[in-house]
Amino acid sequence: MTTDKSAEKGRRLRPALFGLSTFLLIVIVGFPVLAIIMFALFPYINELSFREPFNVLLPNLSNPRLIEATLNSLSLSFAVTILSAVIAVPLAYMRARFPLRLGRIWDACYLVPFLIPPYFGSLAWMQLLQRKGFIEQWLGFNMADFLFSFPGIVTVMALHLFPLIYFTTSNAFAIIGSRYGDVAKVFGGRPVQVFFRIYLPMVLPALLSSSLIVFILTIEEFGTPEILGSRFGYEVIVTSIHEKFSDWPIDLPGASVLSLILIFIAFFAFQAHQKLSDKFQTTVENQTIDRRGEPLPPVYLAIVILIFGSIFVLAVVLPIVTVGIAAFMDTVSGGVTADNMSFKNLLGLFDRESEAWGAILTSLSLAVMAAIGTVVIAIIVAFTIVRLRSAATVFLDFLTILPNSVPGMAVAVGLILTWNQPWWPVTPYNTPLILLLAYLCLMLPYPIRMVTAALRQLPKSLDDAAYISGASELVVIRQVLAPLLLPIALAAGFIVFAISTRELVSSIMLAPAGVETVATYVFHQFDQVSVGSGMAMSLVAILVSGSIIAFGQKLQGKNRTGDGS
């Protein structure tokens, strides 16, 4: 791991890469976030006036409800992060021991939660577990008391977010391979010991990095706390922010002030994450990506499959089946009876007047562009952050988590403030491009966190070898690092694709006149309490994007075997 001086000299593209990363992040992420911060400080900045500065800060921050909401936000985020890790890490560890094909199938399955908007997931859980809900109709009991409680919210959110940790850590386990464990076993390590002493420390950077994103996402998540929490008076910062957006009076500066608190929390979480990652930094020498260790004995394999299956049923099957049933119900009050079920809602999506197909096409194309865009940007930015480490790149790194720490509504307002200014010669605002920009802004954190976590594991000696052979940074990225990062980049791309197909809040705020996405369509159906049509649209969107993901996974499998690695 020694750095050769001559290799150092060969890296001329450094400033260019750093400049490019900074430019992209500042334009895509920095501007809207800065706009929010400015709005919090200058309540009339929307009229381009700096009058009455700092006037809204104190009244908003001195609200007595705020302290409780902040504590609630923090405890919720900690609990969800811990539960997600508890679910995800064992799964990821076992995943590395699967036969390759089987592993890929489970990966595809665990991408599905991203396709379900958390808002729908919570509605589904409510429909299942509430008084006279589906479970009570079928099995005779309800779990309303559990659902409308702190553990209930934590469980629902963790079941939705754990795949982020799963994908990042399972990739980390794969990069480690089984050699280290084998060595430990040779020296008499017991399986539990091997897991906690060898594997866990080695995947810690990946675990910490994905936990950070889960933490931030929980802080920012609105749907679940709103739907479930409001039933037992559980208020978090985001629900307070949304109150300022929801009906009347609208208080954008106030919402921005509360968003500042979230930005601060994100900042501290990020600092803690940096400290921990530095402490537990590990790199794996000799990359081989051999994930096949000893095949599991059939009995163990069966047990492991059973565990994977149960989590899958809880996180995916139950919510989707519930959405599915609701999509087939003619009336909500009619309940689940034979004469209340038909294809009416689904067929209604495709009649002549309906804008459903157009909406699906728009969402899919935006999602593909967002996925490709974010992954390419993420690889460049990750390289800058991890390999060109400096004080400036730490700032960039922090910048990348910001969009996820602020509610989508606030980001949307930030984007309007940024791009709806008369001085821009051309602007994406009022064209569908603003949606792409919003998705890039909101989704960038996922691939950046996932790719940087993977890159941190790759030894620098790999790059150095290439530099000595005369390669430039671009060649190193393209021919050395990108192939090694491909699996995680693809997983990140699929996650971005999945989330983009159903992104709700910013789409509703930013969609230009006449442009419908899946989310705006569903929103309008729900707004008229046409629950069935809304659910039908979601179901179709989930199925369409799900099959695209499955297809992509299959292609990936083919490529992998084609490489012969």
């Binding site: 039933r231 009906d247 096409l361 309007i416 491009l433 008229q528 309490v529």
Partner: protein, 318 residues
């Protein structure tokens, strides 16, 4: 994938063609109504309408965020409070449409007028097996224990008008009513949809303060809902239509307001089961004559909204 990207590029190229002469309308739901009004207007005048359709909160958020470079000409909200706020800050263009003559005086000002109104009502699921409630206060009876759901005044402007109206008409009695409802196990789960959902799904039986046209529309679709307007009196949630002072298209904007308040426009409003603002257009639901409406000072109440919301939260123990 390439096909999708190409298709996307095409969609974007098509959609970016904007025309400065088009009328820009931001409207709160229901979507078929705003869509229908826009279509009818274009047919009559030839002026194209660019419609941003959302809910009141998002319409206003977008308007506020766009202030340095205003885009909108006409705003339709479902919350009278928005019109009051915008009027106070001098954001509205003074215009009295000749078609506003038949609108009751309480629902029009120099700068804004109601396009229609919802009345706040009791909606109950007939499958719940509960007796049919007649008055607001009926719901404090033990038979409705743990069966009531109410939209949160902090999240639904319509529920706020109900609280304001009842409080102004009944004073302390109204606050006692909310306390008693809370004691009777009433849930306050969020906006209008959140309050209605558990009642449709059977987890609860009655909505206290439902937006009547939404409930009536659901009933028409076959939901087992019954809508009751208490004879003790109920409150209107008028839906204001207004022209932004910043509008660069004021002539067309005025024409649009005229159209919405014309007999044709009001008939479209009536079709969505909303109470048309004009008393001479037939309502397809309990109309001006059937409803006993509590009138109160909207502007004064708007000024006290924060206090009212806090007081409500306190009385229901939120």
């Amino acid at each position: 994938m390439k096909v999708i990207v190409a298709a996307a590029a095409a969609t974007i190229a098509l959609a970016s063609v904007a025309n400065a002469a088009d009328l820009v309308v931001y409207s709160a739901g229901p979507k078929p109504l705003s869509g229908g009004l826009a279509k009818g207007f274009t047919k009559m005048t030839g002026i194209k309408v660019k419609l941003f359709q959302s809910n009141s909160g998002k319409v206003m958020a977008r308007y506020q965020a766009e202030k340095s470079n205003p885009q909108v000409d006409v705003i339709i909200s479902a919350s009278w409070g928005h019109a009051i706020t915008l009027n106070k800050s001098g954001d509205l263009l003074a215009y009295t449409s000749p078609n506003a003559a038949k609108i009751p005086a309480s629902l029009k000002t120099k700068t804004y007028a109601a396009q229609g109104a919802a009345a706040l009502a009791i909606a109950y699921n007939t499958k719940s097996g509960l007796p049919k409630p007649k008055q607001w206060s009926d719901l404090t009876k033990p038979v409705y224990k743990d069966q009531i759901s109410m939209p949160d005044p902090a999240k639904a402007g319509s529920a706020l008008t109900l609280v304001q109206g009842l409080a102004s008409a009944q004073g302390d009695k109204a606050w006692k009513l909310f306390e008693a409802l809370a004691k009777n196990g009433m849930i306050v789960p969020g906006d209008n949809r959140a309050a209605l959902r558990p009642v449709l799904q059977g987890a609860r039986g009655v909505v206290f303060g439902a937006v009547d046209y939404i409930a009536l529309g659901l009933k028409k679709k076959g939901e087992t809902l019954e809508v009751i307007h208490p004879t003790q009196g109920t409150v209107l949630a008028p839906r204001p239509i207004m022209i932004a002072k910043s509008s660069k298209n004021q002539a067309a904007a005025k024409k649009f307001v005229d159209y919405v308040l014309s007999k044709e426009g009001q008939t479209l409003v009536a079709k969505r089961l909303i109470l048309p603002a004009r008393t001479d257009v037939k309502a397809l639901r309990p109309g001006w004559k059937e409803l006993k409406i509590i009138n109160y000072d909207y502007v004064k109440a708007a000024g006290e909204a924060e206090v009212t919301k806090a007081k409500f939260a306190q009385s229901v123990g939120k």
